[in-house]
């Protein structure tokens, strides 16, 4: 169930450099001449064609004649974030059951038919979207379009297939989470920050007891509401002409009836974060696990995203919410603070020998409130309190002195330098476009993302840091081997937060 966002696509694209992300305190040399990406005028990355069918389905098309193949991705604007209360895992369970047949496709026949044509197919569920995809030889597009449209209209979900597939889902949960102490911890940490029944605090695959409680009616109801044509994006890339594609799409998907009672893109009804009282301490999760051999530390703050503002627990100047204008600056902040070698955390924690690895993470292109996270794997002789103090001091320096023009310029350059590498992958365009549109973002958020990042200033990055670290709700956690000394009861405070600095 990987989330294939812009960040993930690029991370994969530059894996070698990212994997080698560690460093010497010898000062960042000035970047040389402008990179290929920077030298280009701000052209759209993919140049996608967009249109909408009368039933509301949005279609995005990127022609590529590079190889005689085509990729079809159907994204629904619903993911685990839309699971009904007490039924976490519904979106993901339905994804499995979509392979159990539809009116014109027998149970299990979808994947076998694709394989017989030499194609590959799969699906994934994230918190924000559910997507089904096939890569096939170009002349087989109509076949996969026909089958995909058929299960959009009405999946069978044969009753006798539900229980065996529930066992498969439970095995998937054991594989991904229950047998992995780090995944178990991450799941518990999300619940600690957001709440175990909040849409952001529940696991995508679902809590085990809730997976067991999901009924066939739950699955059909989820499909009826969320798998409406107007709540979906069909993203296609490959060796097909636009006229031929329009004919196929209208013939196959145009026949799926509109659902006036169903969902449509951009409307999710997601609950606002549950905020603690302003005077209550932040959540703290400390877990000793006998399966763990290396400790891990996380500290996360709720954050605004491109799609949502963020309410804050305490009063603050200028109102009680942080705005979406911080979203792109937060991406740059994550790079400056924790983007591998040369970053602030790397210099303060890794190069000093306190930790084995440290970094920061943030995705701007999510549905609803986002999360800004810091993480570190301590060296074995580093006391937890020491690590947390150094991490807090590093953040404090950003809050007090701001980030520099030079590190922002370097960060933006490195974040955007590989943008064109997405053209080397047939699946990148439909994944990035489908994910963004299904998440309620405009196509420009994909086509012009390098320009949007390049517009970020050092002042905006500093302001975003003060907004989130100074005012957003946070939580911290420790995963420790059995017998390891316990960390302090609370995470250290930040100077800027204590001082109540304006944002």
């Amino acid at each position: 169930m990987p989330r294939l966002t812009r960040r993930e696509t690029l991370r994969t694209a530059t894996l070698g450099a990212a994997a080698a992300a560690t460093g010497l305190p010898n000062g960042a040399a000035e970047p040389r001449a402008a990179s290929a990406a920077e030298a280009m005028p701000d052209q759209p990355l993919f140049g996608a064609q967009l249109w909408q069918l009368p039933n509301g389905l949005r279609v995005a098309f990127v022609e590529s004649r590079r190889a005689p193949v085509v990729a079809q991705y159907l994204f629904y604007g619903a993911g685990a974030g839309e699971d009904p209360p007490g039924r976490s895992g519904t979106a993901h369970f339905l994804e499995h059951m979509m392979f159990k047949g539809s009116r014109r496709v027998a149970t299990g026949a979808f994947s076998l038919a694709v394989a017989r044509e030499g194609g590959n197919d799969n699906a994934f569920t994230s918190r924000d979207v559910t997507a089904y995809h096939q890569h096939v030889e170009a002349s087989r597009l109509q076949l996969v379009a026909s089958m995909e449209a058929d299960r959009m209209a009405a999946p069978l979900i044969p009753p006798e297939t539900v229980e065996p597939e529930r066992l498969v889902v439970l095995e998937e949960r054991r594989l991904r989470t229950d047998s992995n102490p780090r995944a178990r911890f991450r799941e518990a940490f999300d619940a600690a920050l957001w709440g175990p029944q909040h849409w952001h605090g529940r696991p995508v695959i679902g809590w085990e007891d809730e997976i067991r409680a999901i009924t066939r009616d739950d699955l059909l109801a989820f499909h009826a509401r969320w798998y409406a044509p107007a709540n979906a994006v069909l993203a296609i890339a490959g060796d097909v002409r636009e006229g031929e594609l329009r004919r196929i799409v209208e013939a196959e998907y145009g026949a799926v009836p509109a659902r006036p009672e169903g969902a449509s893109l951009g409307r999710r009804d997601r609950a606002a974060p549950v905020l603690r009282p302003a005077d209550a301490p932040p959540a703290r999760l400390v877990r000793h696990d006998p399966g763990v051999r290396e400790a891990a530390h996380i500290r996360s703050w709720m954050a605004p995203s491109l799609t949502a503002t963020l309410p804050t627990p305490g009063p603050m100047p200028g109102g009680g919410t942080l705005g979406s204008e911080h979203a792109y600056p937060l991406e740059v902040l994550a790079k400056v603070l924790g983007g591998g070698q040369g970053s602030r955390l790397h210099r303060a924690l890794v190069e000093t020998g306190l930790v084995v690895a440290a970094g920061a993470s943030y995705d701007s292109d999510v549905v609803g409130a986002g999360e800004f996270g810091l993480y570190a794997t301590p060296q074995r002789d580093t006391p937890p309190a020491r690590l947390e103090q150094e991490m807090a001091a590093t953040v404090d320096r950003v809050l007090q002195d701001g980030v520099t023009e030079a590190e922002v310029a370097r960060g933006i350059r490195q974040l955007t330098a590989g943008a064109l590498l997405a053209l080397d992958s047939l699946g990148a365009a439909p994944r990035m476009i489908g994910d963004a549109l299904a998440s309620g973002l405009p196509i420009e958020a994909v086509e012009h993302w390098p320009a949007r990042l390049r517009a970020v200033t050092a002042g905006q990055v500093t302001a975003a840091a003060r907004a989130v670290f100074g005012h957003a709700q946070d939580a911290s956690g420790w995963l420790l081997p059995e017998g390891a000394a316990a960390p302090p009861e609370r995470a250290p405070g930040l100077a800027a937060a204590r001082a109540g600095q304006p944002i």
Binding site: T14, T22, G108, L112, D121, S179, G291, R293
Partner: protein
Amino acid sequence: MSAPFRFPIQVVEAGGISAWLFEDHSVPVVSLAWGWPGGSPLDPPLADGRVAVGATRLGAALLTEGAGDLGATAFADALRDEAIALSFSCDRDGFDGSFRALSPALPEAVRLARLAMTAPRFDAEAVARVRARAMAGARQSLETPSGQAARAFWAEGFPGHPAGRPVGGTAEDIAALSVDQIREALSRQVRRGGLLVAAAGAIDARALAALLPALFDGLPAGAPPETPPLPPLRRFGPEVIQVPAPQSTVIFGQEGIAVDDPDWEAAQVVMRVLAGGGFASRLMQAVRVQRGLAYGIGAGMQVLYGRALLVGQVATANPRVGETLSVTREEWARMAKEGPNADELADAVAYLTGSLPLQLAETRPIAATLLAQRRNGRDPEWLSGRSARLEAVTLDKARAVAARLLKPDALSVVVAGQPEGI
């Protein structure tokens, strides 16, 4: 298929180095992959008879941690400023380098890759940092049943042979390595001799011919030392590794087929029907679809020392390990006895021929595939001729190969978890 699949490969020679090239200028990207035989079995021997286990893999990680006059951060910035993905990797039977770069950054990619191979710095700070990371990684890999099972499978399968060791060594091995040992490992491995190169993307033969000496001329002459021949996979198990987890990982395998065996494609067809990817295989149907025993199961042909071992993996709840193993063995035995049926054969051939263009639609997998073909001693026409060879596999041939290849009673099995019923 609308047209017969063609995959034109040029052979480019310059300065005693040859490279295979798939040229495609539709996107301004170039991927290069190169490699040598060797890998972790080349970890250098010590004076006292022991071996500096893990030295080669740690050396691979250190090549991109500062070189020439660039310290580690400056080297990383030089790569990231141009989005150059340069990396080196060490495995059980080989050592590889690769990069992918946008066309305008290609000269810089060549400069940095050459610098990494010819003038790595091994600054004390970088060595300490990369060593700590490798030690943490080695420990973390043992936190899950799958990590424990993988380590045990190779150790049990090839006891006494260096290919049976953990590729990067244990945390204790890594802690004991000296910089001299790491230098020694790299000087045994990274040489002019034994080098195989493949390229894909927006570069023509002339430009590639100019690039090859620029990249490799600084390497010392001669080939990496020979490694001891790999004995047959030892038959063992089920070997149980106790790991506190609700689910067990099972790894199973047997000896396979030489890469130059004339029945290579027939073996691929048989393994596709029995255990290939997706939902089509007999094992996936029997284990997941019919019984809900696992999220997935598969087995494939894993090439090591010039032959393909048949290795598979499945994870299931502890109480159902016995049943999962039984079903797997039954399907293995049924395929050995009966082979595929006519429909299965046709479907498998259709998939294997039809999916080739999909695997070759991006520069990095193309370069990696070409390098793998070279390592297997293939001809440049091998890929273009593959469809015809697959379509020539008859039912009788597939059945005969299944009977020759599959040995259900000789499956070596390791189980990590708290399994029941075995």
